[in-house]
């Protein structure tokens, strides 16, 4: 949900649209238009036959206008009747009190009659700069917050929770979630062994969602997830695997690329961009991963063209036939049970977003449902 009216030159000059891009660049009147447009597009997703619509959380950035995905999901809970609503996800360590997440997600689940998919994330590195939360305690706080939320959803209250970061004398959730034992939990990630070990554990078996990565990287992590499950002594179901990727469907390969080019490149090279120190504050990742990123710095932090992104599988773009073929090939490799297509990205305007949604839903989705 980008601030698509951004003065792109200002974003470029600032080096990033995260953390320190002055908020004077946000015009609330344009914001009003954008929010309502994006909500319309999400609601249209239901009409077009998507199984779920997804929202996510990012703070103090032109990249995304949803510091609280709960607000967007709440609006959708009332406007839609059938689709699942996926919050992918709430950034647990950034909350002072994780019970607020348990409560808000439970409310949406109850209001929507059990249509919530509940995603948990740690928030990206930049958000540890904006919120001041100590990144070296990020994993600890995430795990403890998760334990508190799941217990609050499932155990009869009141009970006491004794943790290191959170201590609550009376956990006694009103409302309890609609779904039994609780809404499905998904774990979106940019790829991390620690996260996979944790999410795939037999006690959890959470759906692991690899987000915005080159297709080879997606394949590697989804395989790692399956292998880890085998190590735990069980076979992963396809439904435990997901891939989130920006997609653009056009009438032809040529017109798809022409229509999407500028908007995708704005997305990748203006909205996503940030310096290494912002992306990976100390402790956010293991030091080994940090070293790998430092080695790949030139590649990761340079500009990427649409053509390169398509080649890398970072972006799926083309005619309906091409898009179907691409996903079929990847599905044969990876067997992901969940595919999240990001049909609006960067500065993609309303008319092209609608067209993209329609072409995907009418010409691609039916073929993918056969898989």
């Amino acid at each position: 949900m980008p601030y698509a009216d951004l003065d792109l030159e200002a974003g470029r000059k600032n080096g990033t649209v995260w953390v320190k891009l002055p908020n004077q660049h946000f015009d609330p009147e344009k914001g009003h238009q954008l929010y309502n447009r994006y909500l319309d597009e999400l609601e249209y997703g239901e009409e077009l036959g998507f199984d779920a619509v997804s929202v996510n959380e990012h703070h103090q950035t032109a990249y995304g206008l949803m510091p609280s995905p709960v607000v967007t999901a709440s609006a959708l809970a009332r406007k839609t009747k059938r689709v699942k609503i996926a919050i992918l996800g709430s950034a647990l360590p950034l909350r002072s009190h994780p019970l607020t997440v348990a409560e808000e997600h439970a409310m949406i689940d109850v209001i929507s009659g059990g249509r919530l998919i509940s995603g948990f994330v740690r928030g990206i590195g930049a958000e540890y700069h904006t919120f001041g939360v100590n990144p070296t305690f990020s994993h600890d706080r995430f795990h403890e917050a998760h334990d508190l939320i799941v217990r609050a959803w499932t155990e009869p209250g009141p009970f006491a929770f004794q943790g290191k970061h959170y201590n609550v004398q009376y956990v006694n959730l009103w409302p309890r979630p609609y779904q039994k034992p609780h809404p499905p939990i998904w774990i979106p990630s940019q790829g991390s062994k620690e996260t996979i070990d944790w999410a795939s554990h037999p006690d959890r078996r959470y759906t692991y969602l690899q987000t915005f990565s080159p297709s080879k990287v997606v394949a590697r992590y989804l395989k790692m997830y399956r292998d880890t499950c085998q190590g735990y002594g069980y076979e992963a179901k396809d439904s435990q695997l997901g891939w989130a990727v920006p997609v653009y469907v056009g009438e032809s390969d040529e017109s798809a690329r022409r229509e999407a080019k500028e908007h995708f490149e704005n997305f990748r090279n203006v909205f996503v961009r940030m310096p290494l120190e912002m992306l990976l504050p100390p402790g956010y990742t293991s030091r080994e991963s940090m070293k790998n990123v430092m080695k790949a710095k030139a590649q990761m932090f340079g500009d990427v063209t649409l053509e390169q992104a398509v080649e890398l599988g970072l972006f799926v773009c083309g005619s309906a036939q091409t898009v179907i073929k691409t996903f079929q090939a990847h599905w044969n490799d990876m067997r992901f049970g969940n595919l999240l297509v990001m049909c609006q990205f960067g500065t993609l305007p309303a008319d092209l977003t609608r067209k993209n949604l329609e072409l995907f839903a009418r010409r691609v989705l039916p073929a993918l449902k056969q898989l």
Partner: protein, 250 residues
């Protein structure tokens, strides 16, 4: 003057320690970027003192103990360190985060201290003055912001970097100082407990912890002797070694 290198185990933490010189003990507590080598000011001090330069838990070649979670842990660690090595009449010198540790230690117990020397210390907040955001700086920019003297910048930039140690030091710095950023909001109310002489030295052109912090120290430690060094950045001991050593020794 040669320094010996050894490891001592304190509170289960194998701690890297350099030691050199003869005289009363002087314990130097390094700042965020560690103490990877013997520096000229240490050699100079070693002509007057027995100089001890440990690497803090979580830095350099020292262990990263499980118990290391906040600055208070480091203060208690060094109280145990002083006791275990049976050091008395210690001149405790701390630079930046080391100055913060020195204050946290001293508000708890000064029995083994003779005096305190704070070198552009972190540790307190001052109204309207913010430390530089060291965690958003690229490593090269951090070095550029440490010194006034361009020669020192170039020397530091061209020195070999141990990536593992740098990441480790950065990690521990964040663990102890990310939030609240580089200070302990509960420290100022106990600074009056420090009953040994305190000296404070600050580079006038400090771009990490601006010299304006000094006003707050004048208020909180009114008896402290304060020296502002001209043409000097965040590390007076490195940038103006002679002035620094004179100030410590006089």
């Amino acid at each position: 003057m040669s320094f010996s290198e050894s490891f001592v185990e304190v509170d289960g933490c194998r701690t890297h320690l350099r030691r050199g010189g003869k005289g009363e003990p002087l314990l130097f507590l390094h700042g965020a970027s560690g103490a990877p080598a013997i520096m000229p000011f240490m050699e100079k001090l070693a002509q007057r003192f027995e100089v001890l330069v440990p690497e803090h838990p979580g830095w350099g070649k020292s262990d990263e103990p499980e118990w290391l979670e906040n600055i208070h842990d480091v203060a208690y660690f060094y109280l145990d360190f002083l006791e275990q090595l049976d050091l008395r009449n210690v001149t405790l010198v701390g630079s930046s985060m080391g100055g913060w540790i020195a204050m946290e230690l001293a508000v708890r117990d000064t029995a083994r201290l003779k005096s305190l020397v704070l070198v552009s210390p972190a540790g307190i907040a001052a109204p309207g003055v913010l430390p530089a955001d060291i965690f958003l700086m690229a490593p090269e920019d951090l070095v550029r912001n440490l010194f006034v003297d361009e020669k020192l910048v170039q020397a530091r930039l061209s020195a070999p970097v141990d990536v593992d140690e740098t990441l480790k030091n950065r990690h521990t710095t964040a663990r102890l100082a990310w939030e609240p950023r580089l200070h302990d909001p509960f420290l100022p109310k106990w600074l009056h407990r420090i009953d040994v002489p305190v000296k404070i030295i600050w580079g006038k052109q400090d771009r990490i912890l601006p010299v304006e912090f000094v006003a707050e120290y004048r208020r909180l430690l009114p008896a402290a002797e304060i020296k502002i060094v001209e043409n000097c950045g965040h590390l007076p001991h490195a940038e103006k070694a002679e002035e620094f050593v004179d100030f410590v020794c006089k």
